[in-house]
């Protein structure tokens, strides 16, 4: 994306300000000043734009090595001399605004204030509190902070949850600057870039450091990263004012050292706090993890400025987090009462917050662009956009922009068509419409709406003729409205006037009150309709969605164009299991089902589609079936149902069993299991919250393997027999198949006193451990976390572990190998209430 931004920028006739930013690919930009300016901009008429990083603020550019950027988008506004900082779009004439207009909406309308964020309030407070303390502590070494080291913060969460946006917004409200690490790029590429923009570079204002690029290229990433941390810790960023350009540019080219304009700690130009942000995690190969951990530990102990790491969850679970921040890095140091690395995990953005965010951006877009640019959207469309983006704000806003683009094209076409079809006879062909909206409207209503349609066609012509252009209402200040309507039924087949469009308070303020009531029931009256097209009112382009919360219905009802913009949804395993185990059913049978003669075989319509659910869960069928098996029985109330479902699972396992046909039958296995479980659930257990568990099977297999291997090494391998026995001659354990030894010999021999058996203490302790059976309790089973996806959690079996296991058996008898897979991610989720997507809440409540 950022490359697109660059490209666009290059195409622009660049004023001095922009060229400086584009040509400032390197290192630390004095953003403190920039942000300060940004805040003061409205009051300050003097154009000081040149220092800011302008619109590139939020673009995660790939070319700079390290870039410090201003925290808010208002920096862009600052560059356009006298405009209001809060509304960047209101200065359409400025050159920067033109540049701004080419930015994607995600960047252009990035949130500034905390209220605009989609993050849960508690999470904001948590992060804010941490950073506040951290900034207060800045400058003091970790040792001098009463054991509360607020040095390293780790933010995790799904992409588009607002992690970065939160930090950036806090930067402006808490007044600190951000120094960001960006992975170094290859040498050769850098050179070409540098030569391309040499001139610009020379006049570059903010970027004052040229890294020792030829050295850097050869350094390992970890070393480079460590250096970066050290450097940003030791020196302040350069503060350069716009008019000082010439003086500072000479500093560029110093190797390895930050130009230190305001060296002294206190005399830092802005007196602002500083936070080091690492979002672009250093590219590491596994062998470098250890040294990365050292860097983090070091930072936690000695860093002066807080370091914030941001890692997005991927559907591969949290593997990256686990690699980069294993438990021993996260743990609390002795003598400290806070963990070394504080971890806060974010959840996917909720539906309501998404709708809010989309509405906000849409409003901003409406205000900022000329009339035909952005179409009005109605609530259902926004809801659908929110739904299809699966909790990802970034995806949602991108989808919004894309959708608006499409609508724009549609509108233009309609304009053209309307011009040509002035003489065309309009027919009410409402009979041919599809009725897939999910709501059943009465015939009357249909007729009524078709009348409306007729009316509207004529009206539209009138209006368009009258207005000629698009500007319709002279009195509308900001919210101009497009008043074209559709005359072709192909594009908007299911057009119904929106009845509840005016719920939104923002809109109501611009509406005259009578309109609301009139539109409530009286659709066919002309005034109501006319007024709906009055300024400020929103016009539905898509179908009416009856219940936006119900995903399945909404998605079915949404026009394909909306679906096309949606993020490719992938379900976390947690939700997928929930969907299948809770299998919701509709009120009635499908007509097909009615044909079944036996009453007991009929089921009501299934509201989820197992194929789809399985498709969206990126887990192997084998694992999926194992998860289903682990969790299904708690969702049943009736034993007979369970017995049938268990049969289906048994069938599924048969399909997974034969290795010859495994590839072709695997997918069927998960379907057999899922559908079987859904079908047999005639007496569901009462609705309540049930935690889902990870399959015990794998732990059991692991235990089995460990026991077998320990047995082997203790009893069968000759060197284990060296004590007391002739190493060469076989023992009874050799003479029998392992199976018989384990089931017949071992349990009895374990009861004999050691002298009688001639076994050594290690062997005896193994026998004692082996003979111990506990009544299996569910408490020990690892729970499935919401964000977990697949992972079998099978550590590679290495021989050293076995030796360790057997030796631990010897030293401390009868301690089963601990299964610690669950403990790894407790820290984060304990204090954070699990947040779930709306449909899941509905399911689990």
């Amino acid at each position: 994306m950022s490359s697109v931004v660059d490209m666009l920028r290059r195409q622009q006739p660049r004023p001095a300000a922009t060229s400086s930013t584009a040509a400032a690919p390197d290192v630390v930009v004095p953003s403190s000043v920039a942000s300060a300016i940004a805040r003061e901009a409205p009051a300050d008429p003097a154009p000081r734009a040149t220092t800011t990083t302008a619109a590139a603020t939020h673009a995660r550019s790939s070319q700079p090595k390290a870039r410090s950027s201003t925290p808010s988008s208002s920096s862009a506004a600052a560059s356009s001399s006298s405009s209001a900082a809060s509304d960047p779009a209101q200065s359409p004439l400025s050159a920067n605004a033109a540049l701004l207009a080419t930015l994607p909406w995600v960047e252009r309308f990035a949130p500034v204030a905390a209220a605009e964020l989609c993050v849960h309030k508690k999470r904001i407070e948590e992060v804010e509190a941490w950073i506040q303390i951290a900034i207060q502590q800045a400058g003091r070494r970790a040792g001098a902070t009463n054991g509360k080291a607020h040095k390293v913060l780790l933010l995790t969460g799904p992409p588009g949850a607002g992690k970065t946006a939160l930090i950036r917004s806090l930067a402006s409200s808490l007044r600190f600057e951000i120094c960001e690490w960006v992975n170094p790029v290859r040498e050769s590429w850098k050179h070409s870039m540098a030569s391309a923009s040499t001139a610009a570079m020379l006049s570059a204002s903010g970027t004052s450091e040229e890294r020792a690029s030829n050295q850097e290229a050869n350094l390992s990433t970890v070393v480079a990263f460590q250096e970066f941390l050290g450097r940003s810790d030791r020196y302040n960023t350069v503060a350069v004012e716009a008019n000082q350009t010439s003086t500072t540019s000479s500093n560029a080219g110093l190797l390895g050292v930050l130009p230190t304009v305001g060296q002294a700690d206190g005399s830092s130009p802005s007196n602002l706090g500083k936070v080091i942000l690492v979002e672009d995690m250093p590219h590491l190969v596994p062998s470098q993890y250890a040294s990365f951990h050292d860097v983090v530990r070091n930072a936690a102990a000695h860093a002066r400025y807080p370091v914030i790491f941001i890692i997005s969850d991927t559907r591969n679970g949290e593997s990256e987090v686990r690699n980069l921040f294993p438990l021993d890095v996260l743990e609390t140091l002795p003598g400290y009462n806070a963990p070394r690395v504080h971890r806060i995990s974010f959840n996917a953005v909720s539906q309501t917050a998404l709708v809010k965010a989309i509405t906000r951006v849409h409003q901003l877009a409406l205000r900022s662009s000329s009339i035909l640019e952005v179409p009005q959207l109605d609530k259902s469309e926004i809801a659908t956009l929110a739904l299809t983006s699966s909790g990802d704000v970034r995806a949602a806003i991108n989808a919004l922009q894309f959708y608006c683009l499409e609508q724009k094209v549609l509108q233009r076409r309609r304009f053209a068509e309307m011009e040509t079809s002035k003489t065309r006879q309009v027919e009410p062909n409402s009979n041919g419409r599809s009725t897939s909206t999910g709501t059943k409207r009465s015939l009357q209503e249909e007729n009524a709406s078709s009348e409306v349609r007729l009316d509207r066609h004529s009206k539209v012509r009138i209006i368009t003729r009258k207005s000629g252009g698009a500007k319709f209402s002279p009195d509308s200040d900001a919210e101009d409205c497009v008043v074209i309507d559709d005359s072709d039924d192909e594009t908007t087949q299911d057009f119904i006037p929106a009845r509840k469009i005016d719920d939104n308070p923002e809109d109501q303020s611009t509406l005259d009150g009578s309109d609301d009531d009139a539109s409530g029931d009286n659709e066919s009256t002309e005034p109501g309709w006319l007024k709906r097209n009055a300024p400020g009112a929103r016009r539905p382009l898509a179908k009416q969605i009856p219940d936006a919360k119900d995903l399945s219905v909404a998605v079915v009802a949404a026009p394909t164009s909306l679906l096309a913009t949606g993020r490719d949804t992938s379900l976390f395993l947690f939700h997928a299991l929930g969907k299948i185990l809770n299998c919701k059913r509709g009120p009635a049978c499908l007509p097909m089902e009615e044909l079944l003669t036996t009453e007991s075989n009929r089921r009501r319509e299934l509201l989820m589609n197992p194929e789809e659910v399985i498709d969206q869960t990126h887990v192997s069928p084998e694992l999926f079936v194992a998860y289903l098996h682990q969790n299904y029985s708690e969702f049943y109330a009736d034993l007979d149902d369970i017995s049938h479902a268990a049969d289906h699972l048994s069938d599924a396992d048969l399909l997974l069993g034969g290795w010859r046909n495994k590839d072709s039958l695997q997918s069927h296995a998960s379907l057999v299991a899922a559908r079987g479980i859904a079908y047999e659930r005639q007496h569901p257990a009462p609705q309540s919250w049930r935690p889902l568990h990870k399959p015990e099977w794998f732990a059991s297999v692991r235990a089995q393997r460990t026991s077998r291997d320990t047995f082997r090494s203790l009893f069968l391998v000759p060197r284990a027999l060296s004590q007391g026995l002739d190493a060469d001659s076989p023992t009874p354990f050799h003479m029998l198949p392992v199976r018989s030894v384990i089931t017949e010999l071992l349990p009895i021999v374990g009861r004999f006193p050691a002298p009688r058996t001639g076994l050594n203490p290690r062997q005896m302790s193994f026998l004692h451990f082996f003979a111990r059976f506990t009544t299996g309790g569910r408490a020990t089973i690892a729970k499935l976390d919401e964000n977990d996806n697949d992972e079998r959690d099978e550590p590679p079996v290495d021989p050293t572990a076995l030796v360790a296991a057997s030796s631990s058996l010897a030293s401390a008898p009868a301690i089963p190998p601990p299964i610690t897979e669950s403990s790894t991610r407790q820290t984060a989720t304990v204090n954070a209430p699990l947040y779930m997507l709306d449909d899941d809440i509905e399911e689990f409540d």
Binding site: Y636, D653, L656
Partner: protein, 352 residues
């Protein structure tokens, strides 16, 4: 270390306590000079291995009792190392190829080739062939069995095979037809009692016929189990009391508890608890087919005759399924659920 099982194991065909006709026939076979491939099969604890060892002694003399454990490593085509433990004398080698898992074919071929490639040194006084004893042949993969069939023919001049297994049903018929099948039936209860009493005599302890019978009955006609249990009882308490509990393996006790749980309550919750117990058993390396079998045996004891047929039928069904499938727990649970649902219906019909 001398467990009674080993201490009093007969080493001579003449000393075997039961299946006397069979011993006589084997003796004739050896003296006849011609010695075919053999497949010895029978339930566990019937004395297959003991008999084979006696047979080998008959063939080669006492030298065959000097055994040594060897560790052999094989290299798979993918360069992975494979370790197999073999027990060998100068005249024979014994191994359990199913230890090699999926690579059993390789092991079978390599070992046979190695043994067969060298002739006996002294063919005048010794037999001209060596013997390879393969245990748990019914656990061999089909691939390995085919490989076995071919090598059996190839090296027949220098080595003979004795295959041991519990059941011939899983052995390919070409192999079965190339072997002389010898079935070793399990000892009857009186036979076990005789053995136990002879051991007691040699140990110098007294055991009542009643107590010995109880041990024999609880051993499922498995002599090894009976002797082990007998020794465990001796360790636990001597002189024996008539009502002394028969020592059983812990897992068997655990299975009995599980069965009583199943009979006590039939509900989803109980099923979940039973699942936990099944996992516990599986984690202790108790094979799933043994679990299902012993569970069925315990259940059979305490249910009405009308249910027994169905129980056995379902047990057989699910045992078959778990052999075909990959995760036995699925089938164990399905079996328990099925029985619970049957038993619940039965109890409802009775009007409980």
């Amino acid at each position: 270390m001398a467990l009674w099982v080993d201490k009093y194991r007969p080493t001579n065909l003449d000393k075997l306590d039961y299946n006397l006709t069979l011993s006589k026939q084997l003796k004739h076979l050896v003296s006849a000079g011609d010695f075919p491939h053999m497949m010895v099969y029978g339930p566990p604890g019937a004395g297959k291995k003991t008999r084979v060892m006696c047979l080998l002694r008959e063939l080669y003399g006492p030298g065959v009792e000097k055994l040594k454990v060897e560790h052999r490593t094989f290299k798979t085509p993918s360069d992975a190392k494979l370790e197999i433990i073999t027990i060998a004398s100068n005249y024979h080698i014994e191994l359990n190829p199913s230890d090699a898992g999926t690579q059993d074919r390789l092991v079978v071929q390599d070992i046979l080739k190695e043994i067969a490639s060298s002739h006996q040194l002294d063919t005048q006084t010794q037999r001209s062939f060596k013997v390879v004893v393969l245990t748990e042949v019914d656990k061999l993969s089909k691939d390995a069995q085919h490989a076995l069939r071919r090598t059996m023919e190839l090296y027949v001049s220098t080595c003979r095979l004795i295959l041991l297994c519990n059941s011939t049903s899983k052995v390919l018929s070409p192999i079965r037809s190339r072997c002389l099948g010898i079935r070793i039936p399990a000892p009857t209860v009186p036979e076990i009692v005789t053995v136990l009493q002879s051991i007691a005599r040699k140990e110098g302890i007294s055991v009542s016929g009643d107590f010995a019978t109880r041990i024999a009955e609880s051993s499922d006609r498995n002599l090894r189990k009976a002797i082990l249990s007998f020794e465990a009882c001796r360790v636990q308490q001597y002189p024996f009391v008539s009502n002394q509990p028969i020592q059983k393996a812990d897992w068997e006790v655990y299975v009995e508890q599980t069965a009583s749980e199943i009979l006590g309550e039939q509900s989803p919750k109980c099923l979940l608890a039973v699942r936990g117990r099944m996992y516990e058993l599986l984690s202790h390396c108790i094979p799933a087919d043994i679990i299902i079998k012993s569970l069925t045996n315990v259940l059979l004891r305490s249910i009405d005759r009308s249910l027994k047929i169905e129980l056995v039928q379902w047990a057989a069904t699910y045992e078959h399924r778990l052999q075909l499938g990959s995760k036995p727990i699925f089938h164990l649970e399905a079996f328990v659920a099925k029985f619970m649902s049957l038993y619940k219906r039965y109890r409802l019909n009775l009007g409980y």
